[in-house]
Amino acid sequence: MFFDIKYLYELFPQIISSLPITLSIVVVSTIGGLILGLIIAYFRIERIPLLNWLGALYVSFVQGTPIIVQLFVVYYGAPAVLDLAGINVADVSKISFMFIAYGLNSAAYFSEIIRAAINDIPKTQFDAAYSVGMNKYQAYRKIIIPQATKAMAPNVEVSVVSLLQNSSLATYLGIMDIMGKSQLVGTNTGHQMEAYIDAMVIFMVLSLAVHYLFRYFGLTKRHIKFRLYNVRPLAETNELSFKKVK
């Protein structure tokens, strides 16, 4: 039997049971990535010698290689680094490697988002902050970061959604996330199609959830994705006029 709708229901509970794995990868890597990304962005905005250059190189590497390759480079390469730090690799679980790999990956993307958002803020905002007697830290804290947060939120959302999708690659390392679990139960029951459709639905719902979560916290407006390109000032006149006269 090629397709049996009954299995859609029967396999779903088994697949959804691995939701915590997928979610933990997304949440841990997002938080870790944001912190590390902020540090890299700081190096690059303030043009700290050497670190600025290393940051750029790191970002270029992460953005220039497939995430699957990064996962394995970390998986096979991290033990050597951990050894040096005196940590027994046998104590480190597989999923911890995933946290490290996805966190490192997100950091690069987040650093670029943060950097672009802060660079886009007009220099006059700094001037204005300094002119009322703020120091650099206060200017960032009170004036620049609040504006940048709004500007970068849509891009962060896109990043989190793609992290959610990329988390499915942990399957390659035998992690039982949504993707891995659906593969497993699909093969076991011989109803792979139903299992994969379940997984698709879960991924769609999760992405929508991310989208509405961002909106709920007022970080994004409706359906703005490529924000940088979305600016079109409304003239005094009817902006739809050219569409009406057709």
């Binding site: 270029s60 497939p66 394995f72 390469g77 959604v161």
Partner: protein
């Protein structure tokens, strides 16, 4: 670290760059054709179809590429033979070029991204360009293809570079449909002596160079053509 093996792996990977480029470029151009059509439908807010695409884009964008690939593989392997029977041909899955499964999956991805990129670029062309074209008597079609589209495409060039590199990176997953590409070729090599770290590092280096070249090329093209774009004419 085994440097000799690393270099051997890099050599193997470089040999397979054309396959990876083929996968990336083919799906990019397929995406370009469909993406432009969808972008226009969305831009002119064609009733019903526009909303339909809005949802299909956002939903299909949320499915991991690995899942899409696996499902297509499953569908094609199951449906090809029965489909052939209907047409009266003997279609065998083992003779089917699996690259097309990969290209099909990657094309969905690129169509979505090209459509969104071009739609935003169309929106970013100032209203005054439409006004000016209409005021000299051009029709909507003449304005779109003579004035607006060239500007929108030009301003999308750097973004196209991003999409192409994403496709090339995404194509690293095609081993899921048993296509031998850059990454897969290196993996096959590594199965001999289990030096996986060197193998993955080699693949990473080749991908890195490839993507960096594309990024710089698209930025360079973008700068050349931006000479014609104006900051202060609106």
């Amino acid at each position: 670290m085994d440097v000799t093996f690393l270099i051997t792996c890099i050599k193997v990977a470089v040999k397979y760059v054309p396959i990876t480029l083929y996968l990336g470029l083919t799906s990019f151009f397929i995406g370009l054709i469909f993406g432009i059509i969808i972008a226009l439908v969305r831009f002119f807010k064609v009733q019903f179809i526009s909303t339909f695409f809005k949802w299909t884009i956002s939903l299909s964008n949320s499915i991991p590429l690995l899942l899409t690939l696996t499902v297509f593989y499953l569908v094609v392997s199951d449906a090809l033979h029965p489909l052939g029977n209907i047409v009266g041909a003997n279609w065998q899955f083992k003779f089917f070029d699996r690259k097309w499964i990969a290209i099909f999956a990657l094309s969905i991805f690129s169509t979505n991204y090209v459509a969104e990129a071009i739609r935003s670029a169309l929106n970013a062309v100032p209203q005054s360009q439409w006004d000016a074209a209409y005021s000299v008597g051009l029709t909507t079609k003449q304005t779109l293809f003579g004035i607006i589209m060239p500007q929108a495409l030009r301003s999308s060039i750097p973004l196209f570079g991003n999409i192409l590199t994403s496709l090339i990176k995404g194509s690293s997953l095609v081993s899921a449909v048993s296509v031998v590409d850059l990454l897969n070729s290196v993996m096959i090599k590594a199965q001999v002596n289990y030096e996986y770290f060197e193998a993955y590092l080699a693949a990473a280096i080749v991908y890195w160079v490839l993507c960096t070249v594309i990024t710089f090329a698209s930025r360079f093209l973008g700068i050349i053509s931006s000479k014609q774009r104006r900051i202060f004419s609106d």
